[in-house]
């Protein structure tokens, strides 16, 4: 096992922040958020799960796809610049998996989404293992673990005065190549796991499609987009052009994309005015089946990382594990 002293870790992080954008858990007024930090000192070490996942650093809430400059009948288009390098430190395994899941849609499945891919190529994922699972965490139910290093470039595990370090990818190895690592005997103590049951199989989710309970759950749903926006893997977006300040005689616009969610009432409205998903229960069903049936069908992996954010944040306590548990019981 290779280890790094806390002192050296802080020095290294300070150095990283000077070179790249360094993103890390940071305590900001009412909660912990992944935020750009300038120094290791700004990192929230003893804090709960960040309120939002780290997806915003790869798939920002809104971004410019291109700039449009109109002069009379002529139009000139300008692409957005490529992303700058960034390191996300203190990433939790569930959030790293979230990024891995987004990769499958935006990069692994052709055609490549250039905006996402440009950010992804310039991003290194440096994890910090969770020592235990929070009350609403269920990463173990989706095949992850609180100290799962698989989706990281580099993984740190806290051992008190020192941290165990492990590079998982060539890019990760390059990142830590010059660190004063110390070879220590022994193994990293695994995080304490809690098995969470009740999550249905993909087949059971699929079979639940015509279950009458979806309508019942939907009655409680407020049709906000909270669950989708705190989710590490929800990736639906909307695209529109908006005006920019322009010089005289010209009209400048930007083509924007911004987060959107299938929980929104008019999301599925067609041009003719028909809305196949007018009922809130059908929207809730779509979101959950997307996680466990549709997304795997379209891109490969299941799109739930067990972070538990939607369980905690839902204003009316719609609970994925409860809904799923009841469906699983019905299936058996």
């Amino acid at each position: 096992m290779k280890t790094l002293s806390r002192e050296n870790l802080n020095l290294w992080l300070d150095g990283l922040a000077a070179q790249h954008a360094l993103i890390a858990p940071h305590l900001e007024a009412p909660g912990v958020f992944y935020r750009p930090v300038q120094r290791a000192q700004e990192i929230a070490w003893e804090a709960g799960r960040p309120v939002l996942s780290a997806k915003e650093f790869l798939f920002p809430p809104s971004e410019r796809l291109l700039k449009v400059e109109k002069r009379g009948p002529d139009v000139r288009l300008e692409a957005s610049p490529s992303a700058a390098p960034q390191v996300i430190f203190g990433l939790r395994p569930c959030d790293a998996r979230g990024i891995r899941v987004l990769d499958t849609a935006f990069v692994d499945t052709p055609p490549i989404d250039s905006r996402y891919a440009s950010r992804r190529e310039n991003t290194l994922l440096v994890g910090l293992a969770c020592r235990s699972m929070g009350a609403s965490c269920f990463c173990t139910a989706v095949g992850l673990a609180p100290d799962d290093p698989r989706d990281m470039d580099v993984m740190f595990s806290d051992r008190g005065a020192t941290l165990a370090v492990q590079a998982l990818t060539p890019r990760g190895e390059a990142l830590i190549a010059n660190l004063p690592l110390v070879e220590e005997l022994g193994e990293v103590e695994p995080a304490s796991r809690r098995e969470v049951g009740g999550l249905p199989t993909a087949e059971a989710w699929k079979e639940s499609y015509s279950d009458a309970r979806w309508a019942k759950h939907g009655e409680r749903c407020l049709s906000c987009r909270l669950c989708a926006y705190v989710c590490p893997t929800c990736r639906c977006y909307d695209v529109r052009d908006e005006a920019l300040p322009s010089p005289p005689g010209e009209a400048h616009f930007e083509r924007l994309r911004a987060w959107d969610s299938c929980m929104r009432e008019g999301y599925r409205l067609t041009a003719g005015g028909h809305n196949p998903r007018a009922a809130s229960g059908s929207r809730l069903r779509n979101r959950l089946l997307c996680k466990f049936v549709y997304y795997p069908h379209q891109y490969g992996p299941a799109a739930c990382t067990g972070c538990g954010r939607c369980l905690d944040a839902c204003p009316v306590n719609l609970d994925l594990l409860e809904i799923g548990g009841a469906l699983q019981e019905a299936a058996q």
């Binding site: 939002l52 906000c224 926006y229 007018a278 944040a313 306590n317």
Partner: protein, 297 residues
């Protein structure tokens, strides 16, 4: 009989006798969290609970339930219930008055199960298990719902002193530049998930002004100026209508003190027009004409 049992019994009776087709109340979900419950059958009444955690304002469901929007698939269109029973706290009941004044439904369509209220508990974080009342409840002296068809529980005879709104005073007392910086930093956290709007009984426009496709007012960017316009604009739309249930602030995943905006305007409306939203079923004075003395030159 406990208050929960009395409420279950009231719900069972109105469903069984056919007075209402649906009851909107509270139940306990996973992790002991209290949440809204929507029941259609008398035997489901045993799920209902009443406690100091019943903080949600359920009137947000009234409009949807009575107009049949939402909740039921269009193809399996079920006629909306003719009459709905709803469990209300004093603050929530004022929302019924506002919605009645705005002709969202009629008084006959609502059976209000009023709860004598002693305040709701602060959403107990693991670190502070001892029960403290929510700040809004410490400021509130209303114990009996202004709209109710049946009243459950005993309103206390002696009322504690209502606390002043220190947070509001604090923000008002900041120098303008610091106030601007404070609000920008708060709005900047917003992710435009619209939970505040969706949880609000007064936000029932079919298409929100801030989400029109060709909106002149606000762009689709999830950026500070757009978010500020949304929050200030929404607060204005609630002026004279907001009953202070604070659901918008409670549901906000980002901890934005939205309630401050609403309280500030509620006080402004009260001082300008002597109007407190929802005390009677009358429209907000903000949407009406100037009075005779106001319009005198």
């Amino acid at each position: 009989m406990s208050i929960s049992e009395a409420m279950q019994s009231a719900a069972r009776d109105v469903l069984a006798s056919g007075q209402v087709q649906r009851v909107i109340g509270y139940e306990t979900g996973p992790h002991g969290r209290v949440r809204p419950a929507i029941i259609d059958r008398p035997e489901e009444a045993e799920r209902l609970v009443w406690s100091a955690d019943c903080t949600h304002n359920l009137t947000v469901y009234l409009h949807r339930a009575l107009t049949g929007e939402n909740g039921r698939a269009s193809r399996e269109a079920v006629a909306p219930p003719a009459r709905v029973a709803i469990v209300v706290k004093p603050c929530d009941s004022r929302a019924i008055n506002v919605l009645l004044a705005e002709h969202q439904f009629s008084r006959e369509q609502v059976f209000a199960i009023g709860m004598a209220c002693e305040g709701m508990r602060q959403g107990a974080p693991a670190s502070a298990p001892e029960a403290t009342l929510q700040a809004r409840c410490l400021r509130c002296r209303e114990r009996v719902p202004v709209v109710h068809d049946v009243l459950l529980g005993e309103p206390p005879s002696a009322l504690p002193e209502a606390l002043p709104d220190e947070a509001l005073a604090h923000v008002r007392d900041l120098p303008p530049a610091e106030r601007a910086a404070f609000w920008l930093s708060q709005f900047d956290r917003c992710i435009r998930c619209y939970a505040c709007r969706q949880a609000c009984p007064m936000c029932n426009c079919p298409t929100c002004l801030f989400e029109q496709e060709d909106a002149l007012w606000v762009g689709m960017r999830i950026a500070p100026s757009e978010k500020r316009t949304f929050h200030l604009g929404r607060a204005l739309h609630l002026a004279g209508r907001c009953v202070g249930c604070n659901e918008c602030e409670r549901v906000c995943p980002m901890g934005i003190p939205i309630g401050l905006l609403n309280r500030h305007l509620a006080e402004t409306v009260e001082s300008l027009y002597g109007h407190r939203a929802g005390m009677q079923p009358v429209l907000s004075p903000v949407t009406g004409m100037l009075s005779a003395e106001e319009s005198a030159p």
